[in-house]
Symmetry: C2
Subunit: 371 residues, 2 copies
């Protein structure tokens, strides 16, 4: 099988050298940056995350900075979630929609100051989008990508590891809130966040030249816990029901279809992008919803399971957008983007590489009872 | 060394199966699609391109379609090149700039009909950009990415190969013009274009399910010429002076800095994005320009040469943005994005992985006399 060249246009993370030294075995391109996605032992990494603590290079989760008198206005028009009550030091998970109400990213919006927001983005060019909106509307705001590179520490022991470095004050950080910190002269922000449901923190490194230093500090602090070297974990995130923007949606997916309706406030101002479309969709009711899929068979399937037809009694009802092996369920599981006619508990057929595989529709997040 | 996972989010080209059957050895991600960049014998592929004929999967060069009453207006506001005289059937190379005058893509704009343009794009999300502009300006135009996937046939014998399939009429196609065609029921457009200076055509496949069929038709038609299986060629494109958007520029590069000034018309209407900034830059004169760099030494350097400091007498004057082995010059060559104080003929030092390598600044395109 051919590989993807680590070519010149893909940026290296500040943690690149550290991850290579750790034996990284594969990357994915993410916001034009190499994001580690394997160190050769997926099950051990899953166990570290759910039972212990794991550290991940997620620098590819870039920050888009909105800075200036109109920064708060721009953050609001980019997002269909009400940000008017956000406090400095607080982050909020916000769907960014286009004018038709389709989700084009699902960042965390961090309120850095009254005139400064960061959007901690998934894998699409929100910087370009934000610059276009700001310029077209004549807003007084500078959109940039600052030198900020998150390092995630996730898992039930993450708090102890991070507290051992920065002090017990981090134990009081509320979910999605963040605070400035410094270690060994390295400037950073610490947020209680991360792309797992196992708890933990993201260390927003603010000096790309100190990536290896920060990596090694966390690595050494984690030694008493035998910290794992991991990456955003496909099994855990699907078991827990976290969305992977781009992976779990097509180009016309609205927030209500992928369980993001709770993050849409229909009473935001009329100049918020997509809000008219979202109000209409909410009134009419979405045509699709996202359900869990548990496939028959108790052996892991090879390769990536992605965009396979899902049918009930021979009629296509949607797609399994992503699939992976679940260590918790000991089944292959997936997310379905399906007609609202398809309901939890129904039996379906999934077309996988020419094979028809029986499956059951479930709620998300998954539980062992879903087997 | 780690590899990049061929993961679920990267799309497969309609020619994917054909290229795998041909023994593709590496891909790059390009507009979220896998674009082949190697079949294991780079020198043979270079020779096929410059001496004979080569076929390339360039489906990653996606088309952004602007369709509707305001399509021509949208094409024009997206581009600082005057499109008012473009004819149906004609393509034009157009820099797409942001509001500050920085180049965000350099597509071919193909006028498909009076109310329809395609932008045949480099590797950035012009679709998102165009949708934003259209919506913010209330334009009556639909922006989409249709099912269109170019297959390039390049090299001095490309015309004979393409004529043997479609007939001698294609010999009359002018540079960047295109025409509808059909073979074996496969709908396509044929353009005289391609990312080399060796001449040739791009076959815009308009039915993604027929990728292998079209591939095999061209493959078989090319047999009398011993057609090569290639890919956008780093050596030839640099020797010839073709720009690689994203590779040869940073995020604040204006067209005048990278030899695209001829494609900017300063008298386009005031609502063209970036035109005010471009007029100002043109009046003040750009601060940087792009020159050729010929490195000392007659052996190919390993790896990708990218964004290395260039200095004159110890003072940094800019960056070597890309570098590669030139089979024509039998030297390592590069493009420099350099202060306008740096001039053709000057000796410079390039910092390459801790090594200081002497080099000479040259004009672009390169000639053997530049050695």
């Amino acid at each position: 099988m051919a590989d993807i060249a680590i070519h010149s246009r893909l940026r290296r993370s500040p943690y690149y050298e550290a991850t290579v030294a750790e034996g990284v075995t594969s990357f994915i391109p993410y916001n034009d940056m190499l994001l580690p996605l394997g160190y050769g032992n997926p099950e051990a990494e899953y166990r570290n995350l759910v039972d212990n603590v794991s550290m991940w290079d997620v620098a590819g989760e870039r920050q888009i900075q909105l800075l200036g008198p109109d920064a708060a206005d721009l953050a609001q028009v980019l997002s269909a979630r009400d940000l008017s009550k956000a406090k400095v030091g607080q982050g909020k998970y916000v769907p960014v929609c286009d004018h038709g109400g389709s989700v084009i990213n699902d960042p965390i919006a961090l309120k850095i100051a009254d005139d400064c927001f960061w959007l901690s983005i998934a894998d699409s060019d929100v910087g370009m989008w934000a610059r276009c909106v700001a310029a077209e509307r004549g807003m007084n705001v500078e959109v940039s990508e600052p030198d900020v590179s998150p390092l995630a520490v996730q898992g039930p022991n993450a708090e102890d590891v991070v507290a051992s470095i920065f002090g017990d004050w981090i134990r009081k950080l509320r979910f999605f809130w963040f605070s400035d910190a410094e270690i060994a002269g390295i400037p950073l922000k610490i947020a209680r966040s991360g792309w797992s449901k196992q708890g933990g923190f993201e260390l927003y490194l603010m000096d790309g030249s100190r990536g290896s230093d920060l990596w090694n500090i966390v690595r050494e602090a984690g030694e008493p816990w035998d910290i794992g070297i991991g990456y955003p974990n496909p099994s855990e995130r699907m078991e827990s029901g976290l969305l992977s923007w781009g992976g779990d949606c097509d180009r016309q997916t609205n927030p209500f279809e992928v369980r993001l309706g709770d993050y849409v406030d229909l009473d935001v101002p009329d100049d918020v992008i997509g809000i008219a479309a979202l109000r209409r969709i909410a009134a009419e009711g979405p045509k699709r919803h996202q359900l869990g899929i548990v496939l028959e068979g108790d052996q892991p399937r090879p390769g990536h399971m992605k965009w396979h037809d899902v049918a009930i009694n021979g009629d296509k009802v949607g797609d399994m957008t992503c699939g992976t092996w679940s260590y918790k369920l000991e089944r292959n599981i997936g997310f379905g983007l399906l007609s609202v006619d398809a309901q939890i508990g129904q039996e379906v057929d999934v077309q996988l590489d020419g094979e028809t595989v029986g499956a059951k529709l479930t709620d998300i997040p998954f539980t062992v009872e879903d087997r």
